[in-house]
Symmetry: C2
Subunit: 407 residues, 2 copies
C-alpha cells in the first residue's frame, strides 16, 4: 500500500457567504489548495468532491466534473461522494484509496456546501432529516436536533453529568473559534453577551446566566439551547493528496494520512443497545488506530463532530480519550482546552467554525494539517505531532475517522 | 496493487417496478449478489452505492448506510457515489480502489434508481438536466435529449451516415433485449409493430415504415424519435468484489477487473473542438486498456451507454472499435450484432434493458460477468474472454470504463 501525504490545503471563510454559489466555493478552496501545494503545473489524476445535498439545495448535480472543468483540471476523473454530514471525510477516504492503491499519484479532495440562501423555515432541517429512518423515525417528525436533545437527556441522567458542563464545551469552542480567522463565529460567548447588553437586550451577571436566558438562548430541543447547536453555514475546504514518495518534491513539511476508518451502525437509533455509545465511532477509530499503529494516548489534537455539543462529549469517550461517562466532566475540568491533556476542536469545531455539511470532514483535516505544521496561530496546540478526526454522518450510523501525522 | 475479482452478481428486473422503493431494489440486488458469491457468512469491509438522485426522486439521503443496516452488514463502511448516469461505474471504480489498495478484502457495489413513480411530466428530464451547465445550457432550456438530437444531426451530416442506420441500432438492441429475462423491454421492434397492428393503431409494411410513423414513433428531439431514446426505468444491479487472491475460495470462475478508467471533458458541450468526439471516453478507455495491457482488438464484447442510439455509434468509435465516422455504417453492416466482429450491448443496452440511472454502470459489468462465464443464455457471445464498458455521465463530460477478463 502506497503511503499518502497531504501537501497543501485550502479553506474558504465559513459563514453566510452571499453572492457565491456552491461551485464558486468549491473552486475557491480548490485553487487555494493547489496553489498551496505547488502543483499548479501538474496533471491531477482525480478530484473527489464531498457534499451532502447540492441536488436539493442548489439544483446542481454533476458538481465534481463541473469543478474539474472550471479549475482547469481536464481530463482528471471526477466523483461526488455522499455520506450526509460525513461526506467530506468519505471524500478524503476516497482520495486516500486512489493513491494508496497506486492507481493515482495526485488527487484533489474538496468538501463544500452552500446553505444559507435557503430561507424557507425548517427546509434545511427537513432535508438533513432525510438521512433518518423513514418508517421508524422521520414520519414521526424526528429531526437531528430532536435526537440530540434526547441523547443529551439520556447522557446527563445515566452519568450524572451537568448541562452546564455541556455548555462549557460551547464556551470553549467559541473561545477557540475567536482565534480562527476562517471561523463562522469569531466571538466568545462572553463577547456575544456583552454585545447583547450593549444593544439593550438584557442584563446578565455572567455567561452562565446569559446561557440560561430563554430569550437570548432559546430552547431548540429540550434541554439543548441555541448555543448547544452548530449553525447553518456556507463554505468549502480542500486538500491536495499525493503519493508520499513524491511529497517532498512539492512541500517541505507534508503531513501523512496514516489511518483511515469508516463504520456503520443501526439506521434506527432506538435499536442500539445503548444510545449513549457510538459503536460506529469505536469501530472506525479502531480501524484508523490499527492502520497507523497508534493508540488514543498517542493523539495530540482532535477535531470532533460537535454538530451538537453533546456529541463532542460522547465522541471524546468512544474515540478513546476518556472512559465512558467521563467525557463531560473531563471537558469541565479543562482537559480538552488548548493546552489541556487532549485539545479538542482548536478550530472552534462545528459550533464556532461552522458546519457547511460536506465541507466539515475536509475542514477538520485542514485544521490538523495546520496544527501539525505549527501554522495554527493563536490556537496552536504546542508540539502537536499526531491528530485524529471524527466526522459524523446520519445520527451516528455512519462515521469516518482520519488519523494524520507529521512526516 | 492487489488484483480485484468479481465473485458474484445480482440484478433485479429492470422496468416499471411498482410497490418497491429505492432501498427495496438495492436490497434485492445486493442480497442476490451476496448469495451468488457464497459470502453470506463473511464480514464485508465496505459497501458502495451508485445512484444519481435518491435525494430528489425518493427523498432519501444516507441510502448507503441504510442499506448496510438493512442487509445485515453492520459495521461495513458505507458510501454513496454520485456521477450522474455514470454513478454505477464510479461506484465500481470506488470498490476496485478499496480492494486494489489492500485496505479492503471484500466489498459490495450496488447501483440503483427508482424513477417511474414520478408522474409529473418533464420532472425526470429536468432533474437529469441539472448536470448540464447552468448559465450556458440549462437556463436556455437544454436537456439531454435535445443535446442528443443536435449530436445526431451533426454526426449524420459530417460523416454522411443515414438516420436509418441509427434506427437499426435500436432494432438490434431490442432484439438482444428480447433475449434478456431482466430487460425492461423484452420485445423486438417487429413485435411492437405487430402488437400495434393487432390493437388497430395502424398498418405498416415493415419495421422501417413503422419507425417513420409520427404517431407510433413520435419525434422526441429532431431527428430522434421515441425508439432512438432509452426509457425511464426502475432497477438495481450489484457485484461482489474481492481480492483476487481469495476469489477461488468463493467461486470457481471469478472474473477479473483488470482495467479501470475515468475522465472528464468540458462541462459546456459547445466548447468541445468537435462535438462528435468523446474525448473523455478516449481518455478513460485508454487508461483502462493501458492498465489491463490490452487494445481494442482484444475486446470480445462491449456494453456501451446508448441512452440515445447515436451514443452507441460515437462510443463504438472513441472506445477504439471503429475509425471516426465509421461506427454507424459498421452497425448497419451487422458488425456489432451478437456473432458480429464486436458485439455491442448483447444485454439490450440502455435502450431495451432499460436505464435506472445509477444501476446502469453496474448492470453493464453484470452482463459482462455473465458473458465471460458463458451464462448469458440465448444472447451469449461465444467464447467471450474480455469485455469493456462505457458508462456516460453528464453529456459526455464524465465517462467511466471498466475492463474485465476471465481469470
Amino acid at each position: 500500500m502506497n503511503k499518502v501525504a497531504i501537501i497543501g490545503v485550502g479553506h474558504t471563510k465559513f459563514g453566510r457567504l452571499q453572492g457565491k454559489n456552491i461551485l464558486d466555493l468549491l473552486c475557491e478552496a480548490s485553487l487555494e489548495a493547489i496553489d498551496n501545494s505547488n502543483t499548479g503545473d501538474k496533471e491531477f489524476d482525480s478530484v473527489y468532491v464531498g457534499a451532502m445535498s447540492p441536488g436539493v439545495l442548489n439544483h446542481m448535480t454533476g458538481i465534481a466534473s463541473a469543478l474539474v472543468d472550471r479549475i482547469g483540471l481536464i481530463p482528471a476523473a471526477a466523483d461526488h461522494i455522499k455520506n450526509g454530514p460525513a461526506s467530506g471525510g468519505s471524500a478524503i477516504k476516497a482520495g486516500f484509496l486512489a493513491i494508496a492503491s497506486g492507481v493515482n499519484d495526485l488527487v484533489l479532495v474538496v468538501g463544500g456546501e452552500k446553505m444559507t440562501h435557503i430561507t424557507t423555515p425548517g427546509f434545511i432541517t427537513s432535508n438533513v432529516a432525510t438521512i433518518t429512518h423513514h418508517q421508524a423515525e422521520r414520519r414521526h417528525g424526528v429531526s437531528l436536533p430532536s435526537f440530540a436533545g434526547l441523547l443529551t437527556r439520556a447522557y446527563l441522567e445515566k452519568y450524572e453529568a451537568k448541562l452546564e458542563w455541556i455548555s462549557e464545551i460551547a464556551i470553549k469552542n467559541h473561545k477557540n473559534g475567536a482565534l480562527n480567522p476562517i471561523a463562522h463565529f469569531q466571538k466568545t460567548i462572553d463577547e456575544f453577551m456583552k454585545s447583547a447588553i450593549q444593544k439593550g437586550k438584557g442584563q446578565w451577571n455572567d455567561v452562565n446566566e446569559f446561557l440560561r436566558d430563554d430569550k437570548t438562548n432559546p430552547i431548540i430541543a429540550d434541554p439543548l439551547r441555541l448555543f448547544h447547536v452548530c449553525p447553518i453555514s456556507d463554505g468549502a475546504a480542500a486538500v491536495v493528496l499525493c503519493n508520499a514518495e513524491i511529497a517532498k518534491n512539492y512541500c517541505d513539511t507534508p503531513v501523512l494520512i496514516t489511518g483511515v476508518g469508516q463504520a456503520t451502525d443501526t439506521h434506527i437509533v432506538h435499536e442500539r443497545e445503548d444510545v449513549t455509545v457510538l459503536n460506529a465511532l469505536r469501530n472506525c477509530s479502531n480501524q484508523a488506530y490499527k492502520m497507523a499503529n497508534k493508540t488514543p494516548q498517542d493523539i495530540d489534537v482532535a477535531e470532533l463532530h460537535d454538530a451538537f455539543e453533546i456529541l463532542e462529549v460522547i465522541e471524546s469517550e468512544d474515540i478513546g480519550f476518556f472512559k465512558k461517562g467521563e467525557g463531560a466532566r473531563a471537558a469541565h475540568e479543562g482537559l480538552t482546552e488548548i493546552g489541556g491533556k487532549i485539545p479538542i476542536n482548536p478550530s472552534g469545531g462545528l459550533k464556532a467554525r461552522g458546519h457547511p455539511l460536506g465541507a466539515t470532514g475536509v475542514a477538520q483535516v485542514v485544521e490538523l494539517f495546520w496544527q501539525l505544521r505549527g501554522e495554527a496561530g493563536k490556537r496552536q496546540v504546542e508540539g502537536a505531532k499526531t491528530g485524529i478526526t471524527c466526522n459524523f454522518g446520519g445520527f451516528g450510523n455512519s462515521i469516518v475517522s482520519i488519523l494524520v501525522e507529521r512526516m
